[in-house]
């Protein structure tokens, strides 16, 4: 089977294993007659129980939920220095709530951000903040409902890695990275706006 991972403009094999916590029972919430899909920013993520009961392989490259990572941070120091530990967060998690508890985010070779639904544009701000404000330099990966038509925006928001949803072709999605030759505004990948780069009009 071909890989679903795009890294720096090409489809490559995924060396990382994504660790999921055990499911917790959650009540179905409704708002305005519709089932709520999105959690609000800052809403709780994993329960203490879920964190403690999350199991993960003893070796190899693993991506842990950030709260699980923080729970085991001290014991993982040798694996961290072997570049075996990455973290993942959800779009409703506030970076401020965990960033100070991580010794040095640039010791992490991978941060993944999971977007539950295509329409959740918080992922773009999260990418921007991780790159620009918190100066994260390593692989930044979008996972979850990641499809071709987000890719251009994700790239501009600092992501360089995209795990395309299972039922879609990563080769096709790759084309989304080059939808546009130019952009007007400065963002993460190209920091200057168009008018500072080329002579216009």
């Amino acid at each position: 089977m071909s890989s679903q991972l795009i890294l720096n403009n090409s489809v490559v094999n995924d060396e990382w294993q994504l660790v999921m916590p055990p499911e917790a029972e959650t009540a179905i919430k409704k708002q305005a007659g519709k089932v709520v899909i999105f959690k609000l920013t800052g809403e709780g993520s994993l329960t203490k129980e879920q964190i403690e009961n999350t199991t993960f392989p003893k070796d190899g490259k693993v991506v842990l939920p950030v709260s699980v990572f923080l729970h085991h941070q001290q014991d993982l120091s040798s694996r961290i220095s072997k570049q075996e530990i990455g973290i993942w967060i959800e779009t409703h998690e506030e970076i401020d709530s965990f960033i100070n508890d991580i010794d040095d985010i640039n010791k992490l070779p991978l941060i993944s951000v999971r977007v539950k639904k295509f329409a959740d544009g918080r992922i773009f701000s999260i990418g921007n903040l991780l790159r620009m404000k918190y100066k994260y330099k390593n692989e930044l990966r979008a996972i979850g409902d990641v499809l071709r038509d987000q890719l251009f925006f994700l790239k501009r928001s600092g992501f360089n890695s995209f795990l395309i949803r299972k039922d879609r072709d990563a080769q096709d999605a790759l084309l989304g990275l080059s939808d546009f030759t130019n952009s007007y505004q400065g963002a993460v990948d190209q920091k200057k706006p168009a008018w500072k780069i080329t002579k216009r009009n």
Binding site: K29, Q31, A32, K34, V36, I37, F38, K39, L40, T41, G42, F118, A119, D120, G121, R122, F124, S125, I126, N128, M132, K133, L147, D149, Q150, F152, F153, L154, K155, R156, S157, D179, F180, T181, N182, S183, Y184, Q185, G186, A187, V188, K191, K192, P193, A194, W195, K196, T198, R200, N201
Partner: protein, 552 residues
């Protein structure tokens, strides 16, 4: 006006290609309906009652005659020979075929137009004063800033999928004609005490289900920071706006929930890290864009022939109602009314569009503006040419002398077209226009804004109409709720509901009662809205509901 360079053109062309591919994938079932939805919306494509509806962007309401001719062509070739100018200064086509939309976009691209971000949860068309650059009460021409914001907001990667739609309006005149306080971000450009251009920033205004006027977040922002400050506001909104409930997802709900002080604190904290960053504007960029909006080649003031025609009553009525003062002596701005009772408010046929394009070429440097009141404006007409222009425009039913009057109704497409609507709005507008067709009476009752929306999304801006009409659904039938006392402009206010709603048939009669109550109570020279503020709602309620006064 702004002209594309190769960079603008490439972006628009590549957008057409991208959209064509998206549509193809949808038709091949490689994209589900749900996945295609945000993509088509961000390109202005709605699926409506009868057919798709395509909304085309008219950045800050400014059109060239070439562009207007192209819109006329498109309406004939792909639609039913007319278009609808919207309250956000855009144009909508009601009957295109889905498969034709890429072709329409290609035609638009050939005249530097597009449908980018005219719908969906993103930054929409920037709107402004229809008299920008020409009005005597202007302090700073907002058009070049609007263009700078347009470029910055086009495909802004961080704000591509916001919790909800996001509207920015900008004004630079002492009289606000852009309703900046009813926008997600409202900007008022002014000259500060050091004679430097500065911007007053409102945030969290909006109509719709929960009408709220904006709060001032920055009294005076240096123009250099206009983009980074907007960026900080949008980042806080993008992260903290409510995505769990689409009815509470607009920024106004977030600002209300946090309070303006707390919201401002979050914004300022974000701004700290991007202030003076790469998106900061400088003099060179300002002057590059400003050059596109430099004064046309005005003729020196000479005698005009107006005196000769002043005895022509229809002309002088039109002159009074449909022309606006100009900063240049000898010139006036002309509003061509799209509010005759022969067609839906804001609609223009292809013939009318072509006629206006020609009039613009002949009399107004080939430019046209669209107002949020859904009329077309020729901004730079020599007074000496007004009579000639009037005679020509009259043939095309563009001279109804009702601008600012009761029958200059702002109206959304409503239940006849829009699938969101609870009730029809166009027939209500027509029935009111029909009974108030006596021009002398209309002029006598003076300035009144009557706005109609077919649902609480408020595209017809009913909350800020002096008289507002809102279509509501009660057990499957269409009813109309009346508000009084709304206002746009510097003293913007939200109208109050006067009581239980009315049937379609009752509406014209009810409006008559409202007007007669005003006529009975007014002081000499007191306009409707001032009278409502002075006497309150009770006299109107008594007239409409009898002694019960509507308290049912």
């Amino acid at each position: 006006m702004y002209k594309y360079d190769s960079l603008d053109q490439t972006i628009v062309n590549e957008r057409v290609t991208q959209y064509e591919g998206q549509l193809e994938r949808f038709l091949k079932k490689e994209l589900t309906e749900e996945e295609f939805r945000p993509l088509r919306l961000q390109n202005g494509l709605y699926i409506q009652r009868h057919a798709p509806m395509l909304r085309v962007a008219i950045p800050y309401g400014l059109l060239s005659s070439t562009q207007l001719k192209k819109l006329a062509d498109i309406s004939v070739k792909y639609d039913r020979g007319y278009g609808h100018f919207s309250t956000r200064q855009n144009i909508q086509f009601n009957w295109p075929k889905l498969e034709d939309t890429p072709k329409i976009l290609k035609e638009l691209a050939s005249v530097e137009m597009h449908a980018i971000q005219t719908s969906g949860n993103c930054i929409r068309n920037i709107t402004t004063d229809q008299f920008a650059g020409v009005t005597p009460d202007e302090i700073i021409d907002p058009r070049y800033l609007a263009e700078i914001i347009r470029q910055w907001s086009t495909f802004h990667p961080e704000f591509a999928l916001l919790p909800r739609k996001f509207k920015i309006a900008i004004t630079g005149a002492s009289k606000d004609r852009a309703i900046v306080q009813a926008h997600d971000i409202g900007l008022e450009v002014f000259s500060d005490i050091n004679n430097e251009m500065a911007i007053k920033v409102w945030v969290g205004g909006g109509l719709g289900r929960t009408p709220i006027l904006g709060s001032v977040i920055k009294e005076s922002l240096s123009w250099k920071h206009i983009l980074t400050y907007c960026e900080a506001i949008l980042r806080v909104y993008n992260l903290y706006g409510r995505r769990d409930n689409m009815y509470k997802a607009r920024i106004k709900i977030l600002v209300k929930a946090l309070g303006i002080d707390k919201f401002k604190q979050l914004v300022e904290r974000e701004w700290e890290s991007i202030k003076d960053g790469p998106n900061t504007i400088d003099e060179s960029e300002i002057s590059r864009i400003k050059a596109f909006f430099s004064e046309p080649n005005y003729k020196a003031n000479k005698e005009n022939n107006l005196k000769k025609h002043i005895s022509n009553k229809s002309f002088s009525q039109w002159l009074l109602r449909c022309t606006h003062g100009h900063k240049k002596k000898g010139y006036r701005s002309v509003t061509l009314s799209l509010k005759s009772n022969h067609q839906a408010p804001g609609d223009a046929t292809s013939d009318q569009m072509r006629a206006v394009a020609l009039l613009a070429e002949q009399y107004s440097f080939g430019e046209i503006r669209v107002s949020h009141e859904q009329n077309l404006i020729l901004a730079d007409v020599l007074e000496d040419n007004l009579f000639e222009l009037w005679e020509k425009a009259k043939i095309h039913q563009l001279t109804t002398p009702n601008i600012g009057l009761l029958t200059d109704i702002i109206c959304c497409p409503g239940g006849d077209f829009c699938s969101l609507a609870n009730a029809k709005s166009i027939p209500i507008a027509k029935s009111i226009q029909d009974i108030f067709d006596d021009m002398d009476y209309l002029h006598d009752i003076g300035e009144i804004n009557l706005n109609i929306s077919g649902c609480m999304n408020a595209c017809g801006h009913h909350h800020v109409g002096h008289i507002g009409i809102l279509g509501v659904d009660k057990d499957g039938s269409e009813w109309y709720q009346l508000t009084l006392g709304g206002n746009q402009g510097n003293f913007a206010s939200i109208g109050k509901v006067i009581g239980p709603s009315f049937s379609e048939e009752e509406m014209p009669k009810i409006i008559k009662k409202i007007i007669s109550t005003y006529v009975k109570n007014r002081h000499p020279d007191e306009i409707f809205i001032d009278c409502v503020s002075r006497i309150g709602l009770d006299p109107f309620k008594r007239e409409v509901y009898g002694e019960k006064g509507g308290n049912i």
